[in-house]
Symmetry: D2
Subunit: 363 residues, 4 copies
C-alpha cells in the first residue's frame, strides 16, 4: 500500500501518483465552459466512444467509468447470474485487492495459481471440470488482466487460445485493462484493440494509470451483455452526473494517439531500469517487459533503499531476499531513472556484501 | 431526464450541465504537477477535510466520493445491518432516482408521503410504529435531503426536532446534501454545518451540483459509524486511485468560502426567476426558496417553451397544467434570466388564453 | 403476529397452528423406512412433480421448497437481473411481512395501492409507465397472491387479463399460492391449475397452510426461467438434504385430491362463520369468500373477545371499530365454529351497546 | 453427488438417505394434534432450547433451522459486516459445496489448505497477517467443522488453542456441526457441548445427518451476535411457520440422550468397517475415527464395487488409486456391514492383482 513520499525521494512507487497530462486538463477546461448533457450522454463521451470503436473495427458499446474496481464490479454484476462465478488468477486484482467487491455483488471468485499472473486453457480446465452440479458455483467467466499484476502480458496466440477455449466451454472472457496501455506498447507485443475485441466478450481500457485524472473505458463487444447496462452503472453508483469528465479525457487520449505515446514513455523508462539492474547483476523475480520491474534484493537493502526511493515491497522470500516493485508512469522523468542509476549500484554491492557476511556468520 | 440542448437555448435544466469553476480546474492543474499519495490519503484531501471539520466545530471523519448515489449507497451499506431499513420521503432520491441502489445493497427503503419533500417526527412516527417484530424490516435510519427534491429546506428548529426524535427512537439521521450549498445560502436559512453536525449522524456536502467536476464530501459525525469505512468505500468501487481529484476541488471550494459564493449566485438567479414569474401571475407548485423553481403552466405552453428553453418537466396535473422545473446553477449567467424574462410573459399570456378557450369549448 | 394461546380458547388465529394431516404423517413414516436419494431427487418428489404436472396439462419444472418467503426469494433471485423490480400490491406478503427478503436479494419491490389486495392491468399500468430510463429500476415482474392477504381471489377473466397485459409489456407474472388451495376450492371460483399455468410464468402451490408440516411446490412454466434453478435453490440454503420430506407430503396431498378436500373444509368452516356474523349484523371489511373473514368490531369488544378466542387484530379504524381476522384451517373442528357462535352474538350486542353509550356521552 | 441406488445395493453413501428415527416421527405426530404458536415460538422449540442450554451450562440463544447451508448463511449474514470475511479450510463445506451461498450474502471465504480438513492457529495466522488495510477484505471469523469433511475431529486442546487465538485476534469462532453428533461420540473424543460453548462464539448442532427429517440447532453464545437474529432468519426465508417441526424433533433427540445414541451407532458401524478394511490391508487416505471412512482403492475396483455398494467417489489420485468415502448413519443396519465384509475382501484382492498386472505391463 501507499505511504507518504516527500518529493525529494525518487518516485518509482506506482503509475497513479501524478495527476493528468496537460492536454487532458486542457480538454476538461474547455469542456467546462460548455453546457453538456449529463450522465455520459455528452458529445465528448460520444466522440471518445466513436474513436475507440474505430480502433476495434467492429461494433461495441463503450461506457466510461471512474476506476478499475468499479468497472470490474459493475461489469460482473451485470453479466453474471447469482450462482455464476468468475475464474481468476490467484494474483488477480479482483481476487486480492478489491476488498471483496465481486463477492459483495454476490459472486464467487475461483482462483487458479499461476507462475506469472497469466491464465491459459490448461490452467483453467481443471477448475471448470471441478465445478459440476448444483452444489457448486458455476464457472461462467474468465478474468484476466493485461498487463498482469506481475507486469507480464499476453501474446496474440495466447489470447486467441483463451478466446477459443472460452467459446468452446460457454465461458465469457473478460480482460481487465487497468494497464492495457502498457501492454499494447511493449516492444514485442502483437496484440491490438481489434484483436482484443475479437477474443474478449468485454474489456476495459485503463485511463487512470495512463495519464487521466480518473477514468476507464469499458468496451462490451458481446451483444448479449449490453442490455440495460446503463441501469446497472447507475445502480452501483458509477454514473457520473458530469460524464464528460471522463469522456473528454478519453477524447484527448484517443484523438491522435496520446494514449499510446504516454504508455510508451513509461515502458521506455522501465526498460532503462531493467537494463541498469541487469548490468548491476540483480536477478528479477519475473520477466516483465512492461512498466513494472520486480528486482530481488537482499532484505537489508530494501529498508536502506527506501530512504532514497519510493517503491512497493512485493514479496518477502525465504532466502534472505525481498522482491520489490519499481514502477514507471507516463510522468516519470528521465532524471528519476538517472538518479536511481546514480545511487543503486553502490547500495546493491553493499547489500550483497552484508548478506554474504551474514550468511557466512549464520553457517 | 436529460435530453440534448443546443447552446442556443436558454439553459435552466439542472445544476450539473456545466463543468467546474475555473479555480477548481486551476487547483487540479496544480495538483497534477505533484506526486501525491493515492486513495484519498493525499495532502489536498487532508486539508479539505480539515477545512470542513473547522466549520463543524467538532471531530468527524470526512471521506471524498464521486457522486451522490454512490455516497448514499456506500454510507448505507456501511451503516446498516441486513434487516435494517431506511425511512425516506416518497420523493427522496434514494427512493426514486437511484435505480434501486439501496436495495441492491440489500436494504429496504420505506417511504412516507410528504406535501413538500420534507420529513417530520409526525410523518415518521407511524412508519416506525408500523414496523415491529421480526416479520418486518427494522427502521434504523431516517434519510432526508436538504434542499429536498422540491427545492424546500429545513429550518434549524425542524432539524433539531428530527434529531431529537431520531435519538429518542434509536434511529440514525442521515442528510443527503447534494444541494446542501443551495440550502445553506438561501435567504432565511438558519442552518449551518455546525448545527447539521449536531443533529445528523452523517451527511454529505455536495460538490457536483455546486461547481465541481465531481465529488461529494461525506461527513461521519457518529463515532460508531466510522469503523472500517474505507474498507466499504473500496469494496463498492468508490475509492479513487487519484483521490486528490476530489480533495483538491473541495480544498478550493472551502479555503475561502467559494462554496457559498457559488451557491449564493445560483439562489440569486432563481430568486430573479421567481420574481418574474410572480409578476406574470404564474402559480408555483411549491414554495421553494432555493435554486429550483416549480411553475405550473398550461400544458400547451410547455411544449412551446421547450423550443426556447432547456428545463425538466416535473409532473402533469389533471387540471390542464404541468409543473415544470426551472433550475439555476453556479454558472447560470444573468443574461439567461434576462432572456427568459424577455420571452416568457408573452408566451404565458398566449398559453393561458389558449387554455381558457379550450376549456370554454370543453364546457 | 402470534401470541400464546391456551388450548381452552377457540382457535381462529391462522391456518398454520396445527401440524400435518395424518395421511401426510403416515407418508413420512413410510418414506422414513426407505433409502432415498437426497436433495429432492427422490422418487416421492418425482412422483409428486408428475402428479402436479398432470393437472397442468403442460410441461413445467416443479421444485419443492420449505416455506413461502423462501420460495418467493429463491424464485425472484433466480428470475430477475439486478436492476429489475417486482410490482406488488401494497398489502402483498413480499412487500410487508418478509423482512425485506426480496430487497436482501437486491431487488426493489414497487407497491401499488389496492382496495382489496388484488392487482389489475389498470392498477399496474401507471407504475410501469412511471419507471422509464436508467435512473429508475425496471419493472420486470408482477407479483400477485391468490388468495390475497385480504382473502380475496382472482377470477379466470381477471387472471387472463393480467396474463395478457404482462405478456404485452414484457413482464413476468408470478403467483404466490401460499393459500392457493383455499382459492381453488372457494364456491364460485373458476380458476384451476391448468389455467394458472397458462397465464403465470411461475407460481407456487402452498402446502404449509393446507395440512403439510412444511412445504411449497414451485411450478416454473416459462422455459426461460428454468435454467440452473437448482443452483439458486442450493445457494439460498433452500435445498433440503432429505427432499422427500416435502415430496412425500405433496405426493399424499395430490395422489387422490386430499389437497382440495382439506381446503374445502377450511372454506366451509369460514362460510359458517360468515353466515353467523351476517345474522348478527356484523359488517365485514372486505368481501372475502375464502378461509379468511374480516369482521369490523367495536374496539372494546376486541379485547373482550380475546379472552375466549384466538385471532389476529388486523387494522384499527378511526371510527371506533377494529378489523379482526378470523381464520379457519383444514383442521378447524366444527365444534370451534359452534362454540364461537355460542358466545359471539351476546358479546357483540354488549359491545355495540357500549360503543353507542360511549358515543352518546362523547356527543 | 447423489445418484440413484436400488435398495438391493449395500448403502454406505451418506448419512441423510434415511428419514427420521421413529421416536422423532412419533413426536411430530403428537405435536400435530396440538395447536402451537408459529415461527419457532412453540413449546417444543422452547423445551428443546432449554434442553440444549442445560448441556452448555451457560446462557445462549438457540434457533432451529432447516439445514446446514441455510444455517451457515443466515449466521454469517447476521454476524459479519459487508467487508468482513470468513477463513475456512479449503475443504470446508462453505468453500466448496454451498454454491457460493456465503458470497451470495456478500462475504468472501478465504481458504487455507490443510492436510486433514482441520484449522489451527498456525495455519490461520498467515491468512490473517496477509490481509491488512482497506484494499483487502478483513478476516473476522474462523469457520471450522467438527467432524470435518474428512471425518476428522478436534480435541479439547485444539479447540481451546483455536478459541484463544481467535479471541486474541478479534476473530469470531464458528463451528459447523452438521456432524457434531459423530464427533461428540467418537471414542477418544474429549470435547462436549459445554466446552464448545466456551470456545466458539456460535455453533450448530446437526440434526439432519443424525436421525431428524430436517433441522439444525444454532447456538449463539456470544451476546453481541444475538441482536435481531430472528429478523435475519426471517429475511433469509429460513423461518418455518410450523417451527415445532424442528423443535419437536430436537426435543425428542435431547430429552434423554437419543442424539448421542444414534451417533454412537453410526460410529460403531464405521469402526467395524475400518477394522475389516485394515484386516484386508487397505490403506486409508486419512485417519478418521468418525462415521466416515476413506479407503484408497485401485481405480478398477471402484467401478466394480459400485455394482454392489452405494458410496461416493472422493478423489482420484495419480498413482492408480481412488479415494472413496464409505459413510454410516444412525440407520445403517449391522447386516449392511456384514454384507460388505462378505464381498469386499475378494473384490479387493482381485483389484490389487489387476492393478499389479497392469503396472507390470506398463513398465
Amino acid at each position: 500500500m501507499d505511504h507518504g513520499h516527500p518529493a525529494a525521494k525518487i518516485n518509482l512507487r506506482n503509475d497513479y501518483s501524478e495527476g493528468a497530462h496537460p492536454r487532458l486538463l486542457q480538454a476538461l477546461a474547455m469542456a467546462s465552459t460548455e453546457v453538456n448533457r449529463g450522465y455520459g450522454l455528452d458529445v465528448h463521451s460520444e466522440r471518445a466512444s466513436a474513436l475507440i470503436r474505430d480502433r476495434l473495427g467492429r461494433d461495441a458499446d463503450v461506457h466510461f467509468l471512474a476506476g478499475g474496481t468499479q468497472t470490474n464490479l459493475v461489469a460482473l454484476a451485470a453479466f453474471l447470474r447469482p450462482h455464476e462465478a468468475v475464474i481468476a488468477p490467484a494474483s488477480g486484482h479482483i481476487a486480492t485487492h478489491e476488498t471483496g467487491a465481486i463477492e459483495a455483488s454476490g459472486h464467487k471468485v475461483l482462483t487458479v495459481a499461476t507462475p506469472d499472473g497469466k491464465l491459459s486453457p490448461e490452467l483453467i480446465q481443471p477448475c471448470v471440470d471441478g465445478h459440476a452440479g448444483e452444489h457448486m458455483v458455476k464457472p461462467r467467466m474468465v478474468y484476466i488482466s493485461n498487463t498482469t499484476e506481475w507486469g507480464t502480458l499476453y501474446s496474440a496466440l495466447e489470447l486467441q487460445a483463451l478466446g477459443a477455449f472460452c467459446r468452446s466451454r460457454g465461458l465469457l472472457l473478460y480482460v481487465d485493462g487497468a494497464r492495457l496501455a502498457s501492454a499494447l506498447t511493449t516492444p514485442g507485443n502483437d496484440v491490438d484493440l481489434a484483436l482484443l475485441s475479437t477474443e474478449a466478450d468485454a474489456f476495459y481500457i485503463g485511463g487512470t494509470k495512463n495519464g487521466a485524472l480518473l477514468g476507464e473505458a469499458l468496451v462490451i463487444v458481446n451483444p448479449a451483455l449490453r442490455t440495460d447496462f446503463r441501469h446497472v452503472i447507475k445502480q452501483r453508483g458509477a454514473m457520473l452526473a458530469k460524464g464528460m469528465v471522463v469522456g473528454a479525457q478519453f477524447e484527448a487520449l484517443f484523438e491522435d494517439g496520446l494514449y499510446f505515446v504516454l504508455a510508451t514513455h513509461a515502458n521506455v523508462m522501465a526498460e532503462q531500469l531493467r537494463e541498469m539492474l541487469q548490468q548491476a547483476g540483480v536477478p528479477l523475480a519475473v520477466d516483465s517487459p512492461s512498466n513494472q520491474v520486480f528486482p530481488m534484493l537482499p532484505n537489508a537493502l530494501v529498508e536502506r533503499l527506501q530512504q532514497y526511493v519510493e517503491f512497493e515491497t512485493w514479496e518477502r522470500r525465504g532466502d534472505g531476499t525481498t522482491v520489490i516493485r519499481l514502477m514507471t508512469s507516463w510522468a516519470t522523468p528521465e532524471s528519476a531513472i538517472e538518479a536511481f542509476a546514480g545511487i543503486f549500484p553502490a547500495l546493491y554491492r553493499e547489500g550483497r556484501a552484508a548478506m554474504a557476511a551474514s550468511q557466512a556468520q549464520g553457517a
